[in-house]
């Protein structure tokens, strides 16, 4: 199964990326690949460590069956190279001559020690952009620290902001949200920096070295919390299912009649009165039809009372009922708290082509994947191919830089590929 680059028509068509990356950088590389870049994942002959991370297809552990790897490595090619051997390093150098971008996540100094650092690679390819995405960047007192997804969420301020009211958790422990977002944040910034450097290169021909810090990326990802401290010396406190704040605020995540939750979104606007008419149909409007609430000042003063009354109604009806009424009738930015299970039935996103069926020919199966954040009207983001099998593209990619079949056999025998 190959990806024919001549048929690729994404916005990054023609950009070649060497990805030498662990779980810090695979999401950045996936975005590039799904946008049409030719992303070549360089893996050790034993496979990238992410192939060992579950869940696995049918719960059978195998380097080619990690769903975690599948998601983060679509549209990429896989080439195995042992960079501990001189021939492996030489082949990497050869590939780097053909690349526009090297995306790497090795501990600082590792590539330099191998003779594959930015200066060395750029000497042979001045337009090359090397994006080094690491836990802390290339310098600083914490550079040697070992990190994980959760520890990034601890350092970055996410955990300090996520948790519970005392009534839900007397310990009020900090909670690390799931889903690998400790790594997503750095990947997004690395992607942006790389695109900007590519634009600069298109104007000047000059490549450069980008030193991107996952920790700094996470530290940037708490909305107004840093300005809150800088300008007003406020330390925010965790609350159940809503913004952490300086002072306790009213609950906005409300249980529904069908055992789910609705999030009542931002502030209260005068449009709530349209929603009250819906409540009135079942006699649950309380005093909210009182004309005094037409006065914006009275409404503001009674915000908690109004929200509590609305919450009492929300508790009695299915989530979909109150959510759709809030949106359709009152234009209020509510949302149902959906489990991932409920996303697949979403007609809106089905119609936008969000879900993509991806063929896994070696399994004789096709699986549904999440697709693109945005619809690009001219050059859509796509999944060109399922994640590569380990070393699937080694022969093709190395063949293009002069490694013929017999040489490849020798390299395989000596464990270089």
């Amino acid at each position: 199964m190959t990806t024919d680059q001549s048929t690729v028509s994404g916005p990054l068509t023609g950009v070649r990326v060497l990805e030498l990356s662990n779980q810090l950088g695979q999401w950045c590389g996936k975005l590039m690949a799904d946008f049409g870049a030719d992303v070549i994942k360089i893996e050790p002959p034993t496979g990238a460590a992410e192939r060992q991370v579950g869940p696995f297809y049918a719960d059978v552990e195998d380097p080619n069956r990690s769903l975690y790897f599948w998601h983060y490595n679509t549209s990429k090619k896989s080439v195995t190279l042992d960079l501990d051997q001189p021939e492996g390093r030489d082949l990497f150098r050869r590939l780097a001559r053909t690349a526009d971008v090297v995306l790497e996540t090795m501990p600082p100094g590792t590539l330099d020690a191998m003779g594959l650092g930015y200066e060395s690679l750029a000497a042979e390819n001045p337009g090359l952009i090397v994006c080094s995405l690491t836990d802390f960047g290339q310098s600083g007192p914490w550079v040697g620290y070992q990190m994980t997804d959760m520890l990034h969420l601890a350092a970055g301020g996410q955990m300090a902001a996520c948790g519970y009211d005392e009534v839900d958790d007397p310990e009020r422990r900090p909670i690390a949200p799931g889903g690998g977002n400790g790594y997503h944040m750095g990947a997004h910034y690395a992607y942006i920096a790389t695109m900007a450097a590519l634009y600069h290169r298109s104007v000047t021909g000059q490549g450069q070295h980008l030193d991107v810090s996952a920790h700094e990326s996470a530290a940037l990802t708490t909305e107004m919390h840093i300005p809150n401290w800088i300008y007003t010396n406020v330390v925010v406190q965790r609350q159940t299912g809503r913004h952490a704040g300086a002072r306790p605020s009213a609950p906005s995540q409300i249980p529904t009649g069908d055992g789910r939750y609705v999030n009542m979104g931002g502030g209260l606007s005068s449009s709530f009165r349209a929603f009250v008419e819906v409540m009135a149909e079942s006699g649950q409007a309380g005093d909210l039809q009182d004309l005094k609430y037409l006065d914006p000042d009275v409404m503001q003063e009674n915000t908690d009372h109004i929200r509590n009354q609305i919450a009492q109604f929300v508790k009695t009806v299915p989530a979909e009922t109150s959510y759709v009424a809030a949106q359709e009738i009152a234009g209020m930015p509510w949302g149902i708290v959906r489990a991932p299970d409920e996303l697949l039935d979403d007609e809106h996103f089905r119609e936008r082509g969000f879900f993509i069926d991806v063929e896994h020919p070696e399994l004789g199966q096709t699986f549904t994947y999440p697709g693109a954040a945005a619809v690009f009207t001219a050059t859509p983001q796509q999944i060109y191919r399922r994640a590569p099998l380990l070393g699937e593209d080694t022969a093709e990619v190395l063949g293009a830089v002069g490694i013929d079949a017999s040489r490849l056999e020798q390299l395989r025998a000596s464990g270089v590929v």
Partner: protein, 452 residues
């Protein structure tokens, strides 16, 4: 030295948070980002300035008179941009906006679907003005589909995309996200969309509409959970999920929970002081790391052979966590972080917003909060980029513009408005809302220009 996006111009119609955050990064990267504002409180503060000016909500520092130019959060969020005021619901304002778009590369906005179209600025209308324009819209549900008219804020985006659900402790309501994570990350996707489309334009000369949905952006972040459902039939409404801070919740099946390798210990523990943020995270992903932790704890008797394997540690997770907790609470969180990391154990202090600014030696060493100046607020720490670019440095060396700060240079200098027209427009609701007292600096700038 130049910045990487120097020479590009962005027309910034964004408001609230996700849109401004996207445009912020384009500005820091060197694009000329022109924030088009209309500071009329009656339309909900389309600039973000008025919204943030509600007493108790904003972040005007003590000692600074509260005004539309005094908010600290705004200063950080709109750093490095230029500001022009014009009434887009007036014929003249719309005409000038079109002139501005004719000189731009990217238009970015995060209104509800249909708002720009209602102004007369649909994508085809923009293309008629500037054929290779890149238009990035950032509506919650995008601009197409049966629910395109639904409205969102960060918390509802997180709820609808599944992100809220995957944060919490079994048997409790979702903990969710204690801020608008998807305003930050939605902003990332706005910038990603703009720069990706730019790459295509550089190669082919073709612009396009990037129709971002912030809910969809959130859904892309749940890949392994969705694949577990579509490939394995394993849903997320299951026992022990989400697993709090654990990799696996004690007593539940040892399945992966989409946060990386299964590990134990994998938790947070209360540290000395017992304050709201006196916690440390500790993770052992290998048996060697467990041995290192055990040794760091002084090889206590309880840490016997039962804990030597990952399976054993998972089987006795509650006991293990209680014992680790009893040891941890004797240490200050940073001292313990250093001690454990030196011993080869992955560990990290839970950091508050105060901690990151005041106590994080890494961020300080990297200059993360170096100050920059603002015309009214003066010099304040700014949030800098998380990258260092060897060829094109991108320091945040300027705060947000004050409202209309660049009116003379943009309206008169770029768009052909005469100084007389500008003066009249300040009075007739074209360049300043009639309902808002005119800021004196606007007239002063105009007079300075006339003198010059």
């Amino acid at each position: 030295m130049t910045r990487p996006l120097e020479g590009l111009r962005v027309v910034d119609f964004t408001w609230v948070r996700a849109g401004p955050w996207a445009a912020r990064w384009l500005a820091i990267l060197g694009a000329d980002v022109i924030k088009v504002e209309w500071p009329d409180p009656a339309i909900g503060g389309s600039t973000g300035r008025v919204v943030r000016n509600v007493p108790g909500m904003g972040s005007t520092p003590d000692g600074v008179p509260r005004s539309m130019n005094s908010d600290g959060h705004f200063n950080d969020m709109h750093a490095m941009k230029r500001s022009v005021t014009m009434n887009l619901r007036s014929a003249r304002g719309l005409e000038l906006a079109k002139k501005l778009i004719a000189q731009a590369d990217i238009v970015i906005e995060n209104f509800s679907a249909g708002v720009l179209k209602s102004w007369g600025l649909s994508f085809p209308e923009m293309q008629a003005i500037k054929p290779d324009i890149i238009y990035v819209s950032m509506a919650g549900f995008g601009h197409t589909g049966p629910r395109a008219h639904f409205q969102t804020m960060g918390p509802s985006v997180q709820a609808l995309s599944g992100l809220t659900y995957i944060s919490g402790i079994p048997g409790k309501p979702p903990a969710g996200w204690g801020w608008s994570y998807m305003d930050d990350t939605g902003g990332m996707y706005g910038a990603i969309g703009a720069l990706t489309a730019l790459q295509h334009r550089t190669r082919t000369g073709e612009g396009q509409h990037v129709d971002l949905s912030q809910v969809a952006a959130g859904m892309t972040l749940l890949g392994p959970a969705l694949l577990d459902l579509t490939a394995n039939g394993r849903g997320s409404r299951r026992e022990g999920f989400p697993p709090g801070d654990r990799a696996v919740w004690p007593g539940t099946p040892k399945v992966h929970n989409y946060r990386g390798p299964i590990a134990a210990p994998h938790n947070t523990y209360r540290t000395l002081g017992g304050g709201h943020n006196d916690w440390v995270g500790i993770v052992c992903q290998t048996d060697a790391q467990w041995q290192a932790l055990k040794h760091a704890m002084g090889d206590p008797a309880w840490a016997d052979a039962r804990f030597d394997t990952l399976d054993g540690r998972l089987d006795h997770q509650d006991e293990m966590d209680q014992q680790i907790q009893a040891w941890v609470e004797g240490f200050e969180k940073y001292a313990l972080t250093d001690r454990l990391q030196s011993a080869g154990v992955p560990a990290m202090a839970v950091q508050s917003n105060e901690d990151r600014v005041e106590h994080d030696p890494q961020l300080r060493a990297r200059g993360m909060y170096d100050p920059a100046s603002h015309p009214i607020l003066g010099s304040w720490p700014m949030q800098h980029a998380p990258w260092t670019m060897s060829g094109t440095p991108t320091p945040v060396d300027r705060g947000a513009p004050i409202c209309g700060e660049h009116n003379v240079e943009i309206l008169c200098g770029m768009l052909g408005v005469s100084e007389t027209e500008l003066r009249e427009g300040y009075a007739d609701n074209t360049f300043w809302p009639k309902s808002v007292p005119l800021e004196s600096y606007l007239l002063e700038a105009l007079e300075a220009e006339q003198v010059r």
